[in-house]
């Protein structure tokens, strides 16, 4: 059984159809990359998987290890191991990263009937992850993303992921706003999590991130559908030729359907 199975997913936002019959299968241990032009629905897919309830699913199903993901609330999906790194992380004043993350970690642990972590155990764990992502320890006491630069926000997303240890990570344009050093650090963080029982979906616009996080599969999302899938070399082709070719193909496909 695939870890994630998306079948014929149709999603509407404010009465406009954005995803128009999307299919995708992700097995444990795999890294999939989703590429595609702006506005094709990549973030919509990520948000639906993270269970943004205001996005209306009109057709199709999504199974996470056989469970109906679409029936889950955002917190249940998170506890079941789904983590989405936001394309635009939210700033929350007045809540420190450390407080928030310990609360989140304990919510997940509690869900699985595991003992909660007290501050004494949490801090060394948190600091270890900060080191991995080469993040300054002042992150701990700063408010969640408040006043963070674009790059700091993205790093903080990956730091959260490293702490929560999800089984399915969805990275939505985590590379945007990162310089090459930061990109390498973030990629290291993601690669450190790769394991046979975890899967990652990397949404990106550019091939560069995929030099560091090497995908097993690359999919091209155009106008709400996956129009082409292939191996990592597909990313290179896209980088060279742009999306024009696949867009034309997609239109032909849409007419044929």
């Amino acid at each position: 059984m695939a870890m994630l199975e998306i079948r014929n997913l149709h999603v509407k936002i404010e009465n406009r159809e954005i995803l128009k019959g999307l299919n995708l299968k992700v097995n444990a241990g795999e890294v999939h990359s989703i590429m595609g032009p702006n506005g094709s629905g990549k973030s919509t897919l990520a948000q639906v998987l993270a269970r943004r309830e205001s996005y209306l699913v009109t057709e199709g199903e999504v199974l996470l290890d056989g469970k109906d993901l679409l029936a889950m609330k955002p917190e249940d999906a998170a506890c079941e191991g789904v983590f989405m790194a936001f394309q635009y992380p939210i700033e929350i004043a007045g809540i420190s990263n450390a407080y928030f993350l310990r609360a989140a970690l304990n919510a997940v642990r509690k869900y699985h009937g595991r003992k909660e972590m007290d501050a004494m155990d949490f801090l060394p764990f948190y600091k270890g992850k900060m080191k991995l992502l080469e993040v300054d320890e002042s992150f701990m006491t700063r408010s969640v993303n408040e006043g963070f630069s674009g790059g700091e926000k993205k790093r903080n997303e990956i730091l959260q992921m490293a702490l929560l240890e999800p089984k399915l990570a969805i990275l939505d344009e985590t590379d945007s706003g990162l310089d090459i050093d930061a990109l390498r650090i973030v990629a290291n963080g993601v690669n450190a999590m790769r394991s046979p029982d975890r899967a990652t979906i990397v949404i990106t616009h550019y091939q560069r991130l995929l030099d560091y996080i090497v995908p097993d599969f690359v999919h091209v999302l155009v106008d709400g559908r996956i129009v082409k899938s292939g191996g990592k070399e597909l990313a290179l082709t896209l980088e060279e030729q742009g999306y024009v070719g696949v867009e034309t193909e997609a239109r032909a496909l849409a007419v044929a359907v």
Partner: protein, 451 residues
Amino acid sequence: MEGRTVSTTIQQLPSYLEAFLQLQKQSPVHRQESWFRAVRESAFTSFCQLGFPTIHDEDWRFTSVVPIAQATFHLPEYDSDGVTEDDISAYRLEGLAAQLVFVNGQYVPRLSRLPVEHKGLRVSSLAEAMLKDRETVEPYLSRYADYSKEAFTALNTAFFKDGAFVFLPRSLALQEPIYLLHLNTGSATPRMAHPRNLIVAGENSQATILEDYVSLGAGVSFSNVVTEIVAGEQAVLHHYRIEREGTDVFHVSTLCIQQERSATVNSHSVLTGGALVRSNIQPVLAGEGGNCLINGLFISNGRQHLDNYMKVEHRSAHCGSHQFYNGILDGESRGVFHGRILVCEGAQQTDSKQINRNLLLSDTVQMDTKPQLEIFADDVKCTHSATIGQIDEEALFYLRTRGLNEAAAKGLLLFAFASECLERMNLGLIRNYMAKIIMRALPQAKQSEVL
């Protein structure tokens, strides 16, 4: 009454008169403090003339005190015996300089803890100080809270039996806080109490004082508090106030602050309890270079009505005043923020800032916010802003995608909002205590497991 709301007459005048005469006969402090009797009588006369304010009075536009005006309240008998150490164990703190405990406006020595001897420091019952220490009390008492214009102050001045007296001698910097705990035991018949506190901080002295109003039992009652603070030259005073009485309590409090040259007073006020609450905070920046912070938080629910009124008088040049108020309103509650700033002629270089932020959690709440600047000097900087908003849905979703359930995520966001008020308090014992009280008062506190 025929649809008319205008009524400056006091419907229950006979019962107030009776209570006043009874006090003059029976209360030890009313009988013996002959030097204050004329003030009492004049205050009572003033109360009769003023009557209770109405919503036609600009300062009371958003708050009708009809429920207070219509009810008959009795003065409590002296009956603190019922309150035991166990009842107040939750209000004990380690590391205090002193804790005075009052039950229904009356001092209870049995439950109080006085400070260790300190040259010139006085922390005692006000009634006791009035009887034994007239020279120290008389120059200050009732000199700042104006009973000729404010009915509730007049009522308090006529009726108060007791309260706290704190006197800090010149240059004493008291490290540990002084905790004034005012307990309301509730009763079957409506009852009133008029606690009166007097805090005098001598030149260059420093202290932290907490006034806490708590209910131990249910029953309709009326608490009418007046606190006078006199901050001498260069004194630094941190004053904290919590109103967390039951939701059947009418509570009016008036905090009059007199600031001499270069004095700093930080007033922190947290309202979570009471049915109809009016908090008046009235600093007068009398000397040059004074600074005043009025920091507040109110959390209302059900049918509560919480009115935060402040009147800052800049009477001298080079003074600063900052008002920061956060409100969290739920249920069918009503909140008011009314910030008056008066910059008198000659108060040049005044720097005043006012920010009121409100979070509305239901669509049946009402929030009135009114900045009121009256400026009679030309070289001043006064700014104000007010916002009213809801919980940020994006932030809520973000927190939930990390595993927090909706109640916990909401609780966290509310606490973050409330923390803006906490962060303006000095780090330490009282701030930690306040944080716990605020957490418990938040609407999500019960469902949320994180907090």
